[in-house]
Structure formats: C-alpha cells, structure tokens
C-alpha cells in the first residue's frame, strides 16, 4: 500500500518550480510500551502539577517560559509564539549546491522522500542533473508553522529531502581538543592497520538485524503465555593485557577465522 504524503510543496530553483509530495522515509519499529498503574494494571494519564502544592494546574492556566538563568523565566504568551511563526509557504527554496561529500553525517536529521506531484518531466530531469553533477542542494522551507533547513539529494531514481540540524546545536570536532596521554608506537599502529584491513569490507545494511527487538518480543510472547524464561544477570568485564600483545592475538585469531571460512 502506498504511503500517505505528509506535506506538499514546490522545489524552487530560480524561476522553475518542481512540485513534490513529502513522505517519511522512516518506519518506526521500536517496541512500544504503555505506562501502567502498578496496582490496577491500567493505562495512566498525565497532567501538570505544581510540585510544591501537589495541585494540578489546568491547561488553560499553563504559561510557557524561557529560563534565562536558574529560576528566572521570561514568559512567552500564545500571541508572542504565534508572531514568531514564519508565514506559511509551499516553497522549498534551494539556496545553493554543494558537492555530495561535503556535509558531514552529523548534520542529517530526518529523511523524507520527495516524490513527484504532477510534473514528472522536470522531476526526473532534476534527479538526473543532481546525479550528473554529484551535488546536493541546501534547502529552506516552512512546514506546519516551523522553519526548516535541509539538503536535497538524488538517491537511486528519486529525490530525498533531509532536515538538517540547527547550526548552533551541533558540536563539531573542531570545537574540541584531541585526547591527551601517551601516543601509540609505530609497531602498534602498523598492527592496528593490519587488523583493520582484515575487517575491511563494504557497508551492507541488510547484514545487521535488531536482534534485541526480536528477543524482547519473544520474551513478551512467552511471558504472555505464563512461561517467562529466567534471565541471567549481567556481569561486567575488563581487559588488562598490554596493547601490542592484544593486537598480535587479535590478528592471529582473525586470520584463523578467515582460513576456516575459506
């Protein structure tokens, strides 16, 4: 069954507009629990209380405040917040293009498929152009009263629009300093290189399964039938041997494994 579009917009490139529909590219598979009242085993509700008096504060009396320093707030009224909303627009404005490798993983937030909404000629022409130029567009748009910055990319035969994180929220390595302490020796570096090379391969996402999710679901099913298995406690572990010794042993072990596999 085809997915439902979450939003409609138009990619704006100069005077050309390419109408698109956005679809979430993510399908949530997290095991969802409900919070239950321990005694009644019934679902609970939430409300806001004044922690001092323990009294409930009804929704219409709740205000929103920005904490300027501990215990000091600037109240923002509903009117203030509405005024801060950007004017609604359908435009996905492309401000510039950058080479595809230039945006670090850190910036990507949520992926959306941008599917064609009518004009398929311009849509697939844009896909092809982005691929030929190995470029990705930096986009700005307003969706549901919120301002977004993002990246427009062609992957496979279609367009994807990623929301990117707010520049002021991301911490980059340049803001930090390398760890201090002893440096590894040349011998250790050579061995580590060897080790990593043995483990080198291609990224194949299908190889990785959320095994834990499967185990949790299996456990829930067993427990529902009244046959929950006993689970062993978790033991922490530690390693103490010298680094070059451990590296040598790792290489040896992996080589043996490779031979067996061959």
């Amino acid at each position: 069954m085809a997915a439902r579009a979450i939003w409609k917009g138009e990619i704006k490139l100069g005077t050309t507009k390419v109408p698109v529909k956005l679809y979430s590219a993510v399908q949530d598979r997290t095991v969802r629990f409900h919070v239950l009242d321990d005694r009644q085993k019934k679902r609970v509700k939430q409300h806001m209380i004044d922690p001092d008096s323990g009294e409930e504060v009804p929704t219409e009396e709740i205000q929103k405040g920005y904490e300027i320093e501990p215990g000091r707030f600037v109240i923002l009224t509903q009117e203030d917040l509405e005024k801060l909303q950007p004017p609604p627009s359908r435009d996905i404005e492309i401000v510039e293009f950058v080479p595809q490798t230039k945006i670090s993983e850190q910036w990507y937030d949520r992926p959306y498929y941008a599917g064609p909404d009518g004009d398929e000629k311009n849509y697939f022409a844009l896909v092809e152009a982005l691929k030929n130029k190995e470029s990705e567009g930096i986009a700005h748009w307003v969706m549901r009263n919120k301002y977004y910055a993002g990246a427009l990319r062609a992957i496979g035969d279609h367009l994807l629009l990623f929301t990117l994180r707010d520049a002021k929220e991301v911490i980059v390595a340049d803001d930090l300093t390398k760890p201090s302490g002893a440096a590894p020796t040349q011998k250790e570096l050579a061995m580590a290189k060897q080790l990593v090379e043995i483990l080198e391969g291609e990224f194949n996402p299908a190889e990785y399964k959320d095994e834990y999710r499967e185990r949790v679901m299996e456990f829930i099913e067993k427990k529902a039938r009244g046959r929950a298995p006993r689970l062993k406690a978790v033991k922490p572990k530690r390693q103490t041997a010298a680094l070059d010794n451990v590296l040598a042993k790792s290489i040896e072990a992996l080589r043996k494994k490779e031979k067996r596999a061959a």
Partner: protein
C-alpha cells in the same frame, strides 16, 4: 522533529535526557576491535533544543509532569507505575527494567567493531544521532591507536550494541583524532521508494536535464557552510526573550530548591575535560 524514544516507566522527563544529565555521560562501556578493548563514555554531539520552553503555573512556578490513575484521579510516583506491552485489548504483559537489561545479548553490551567500511560509503538516510566518544582513564593510548588508524585509512567501524533498552546500529568515525559515533537506522526501519509507492523513473529530454545542470553550476559552492543552517525561528525567539528581559517585561523569578539540579550544562566544556582524561 526529534526521533521518538521508547517510552520507559523510569524515564519521564519532558526534555531530552542530555539536558538534565548534569554532565554525566549518556552511556559508558567498552569499544572493542579485535581483542583490543577501549573503555569509553558517550556524550551527545548536539546540544538540546536551544529554544526549549518550560511549562509554568499562573505565578510562574515551574510545573512537573505527573502520571495519575484515570479512575481514582490519584497521582502516581515513579515506583507506582510499570511498563506494559499490550498483547490484547487492555491486556498487558509487564516488563521490568531488569528484564530488559538482561535480555540484551551478551555480545551487544560492548560496541564491537566487527567491520570497517569506507567512511563516505554510508548513505545519509541511515544516520540518526551523533555522540562523541571519550576515553576512560588509562585507555587514551588504545583510543588514539584506533582513531589514528581510522583517520589514515579513511574507514569507519560498524557495530551493533544495546544502550538504554534499545539496540543501536552505529558507525564510528574518526574526526581529526576524536572518535564520534553516529547511531543509524536498521535497514528494515527505512522505507524503499516501492514501499512509498513512488513512480518509476521516466526518460526525459536531454534539454530538460541540461537546464537543471546549468542552474546547479551557477549556484554551486565548493564548501558546505553550516552557519547557513541557523534556525531563524529560534533566533527570533531568543531575540524576543532578550528584548523582554531588558524591558523587564513578563520576567518571573521563583525560589525553588529543585532548580539547583537543573543547571545548564556546557557540553563542550564537559567533552574537553573528558577528552583530557580528567575527572
């Protein structure tokens, strides 16, 4: 749109947890490659929403979110609620924190780098959230060894591990000698164009493609400038806050001992300290 996290009875704060963690790592454990173990801590690589607003009462007092029993109206404390999975309508299986912890397969309690792949070969669709890794006291050398090796080879390490009741697929990158983990979506958490029902590729006239190629060429930049991503909406919210503060308009102050543990955490400072190996 932050990713939703699994709901847990023991976690019920409104803000993302990093905000209230008081500078403690998000996770501490062991990173391994081959038989080499590197004890590390994980810290978020992004600050929480800088325009985060608190809910206040009529007198400006900060409010707390509280669970209550619908039938009796009685407020419930953390030890009076449990986590239940609905197997049938209104029939739940209770799962405890301890059970969730014990269910994690032993091999997934560490970040075991079983594979290394070219660092730029992972499609951005997979990336979810970033964390910096800092070495535990005494593990700086092994940390540097891994970081330097990955830097030189241009590779990223891949692993799956369980953290806080959820299994994560992660890619570990070396960013100029600093290790960064990016949690990733599993393949079955991503939709394909067929799942979404997108139309198949159509052939288009060459002229239409060339037109876009020219537009791309004129608007191309060599580098990506993150400052262009600054959230204007958040900026104007903070500007308004400043204005009101100067005019002393709508400013409230509350005396509240509870506030002392909510002090603003400087993530960069904590990361620097942690990378320096200091406690």
């Amino acid at each position: 749109m932050p990713p939703r996290r699994s709901q847990s009875a023991s976690r019920r704060r409104e803000e993302p947890e990093e905000e209230n963690s008081g500078g403690r790592p998000f996770w501490s454990g062991t990173l391994t490659f081959g038989l080499v173990s590197v004890p590390v801590s994980l810290f978020p690589a992004a600050r929480s929403n800088r325009a985060s607003l608190r809910m206040l009462g009529p007198d400006g007092q900060p409010l707390a979110r509280k669970y209550f029993a619908e039938k009796t109206g009685k407020d419930l404390d953390a030890d009076e609620v449990v986590r239940g999975f609905e197997v049938n309508k209104e029939k739940y299986v209770i799962v405890t924190d301890e059970e969730l912890e014990r269910l994690a397969p032993e091999k997934t309690r560490d970040i075991d780098l079983k594979q290394f792949v070219p660092a730029d070969s992972i499609p951005p669709l997979y990336f979810e959230r970033g964390y910096f890794l800092t070495p535990a006291a005494g593990s700086q050398k092994a940390y540097k060894l891994l970081a330097e090796t990955m830097d030189k080879s241009g590779l990223a390490g891949i692993a799956t591990f369980v953290m806080r009741g959820k299994e994560y697929l992660v890619a570990i990158f070396s960013d100029k000698g600093i290790l960064r983990a990016e949690t990733m979506r599993f393949a079955d958490e991503l939709r394909t164009p067929e799942d979404v029902g997108l139309p198949e590729k159509k052939d288009v006239p060459k002229a239409a493609v060339t037109k876009f190629e020219k537009m791309i060429a004129t608007k191309s930049k060599k580098q990506f400038t993150p400052t262009k991503l600054a959230d204007k909406q958040t900026d104007s919210l903070l500007k308004l806050v400043k204005k009101k503060q100067t005019k002393r308009e709508n400013v409230v102050k509350v005396e509240d001992e509870m506030e002392t543990d909510r002090k603003v955490v400087d993530l960069v400072k904590i990361l620097k300290q942690s990378l320096g190996g200091k406690k």
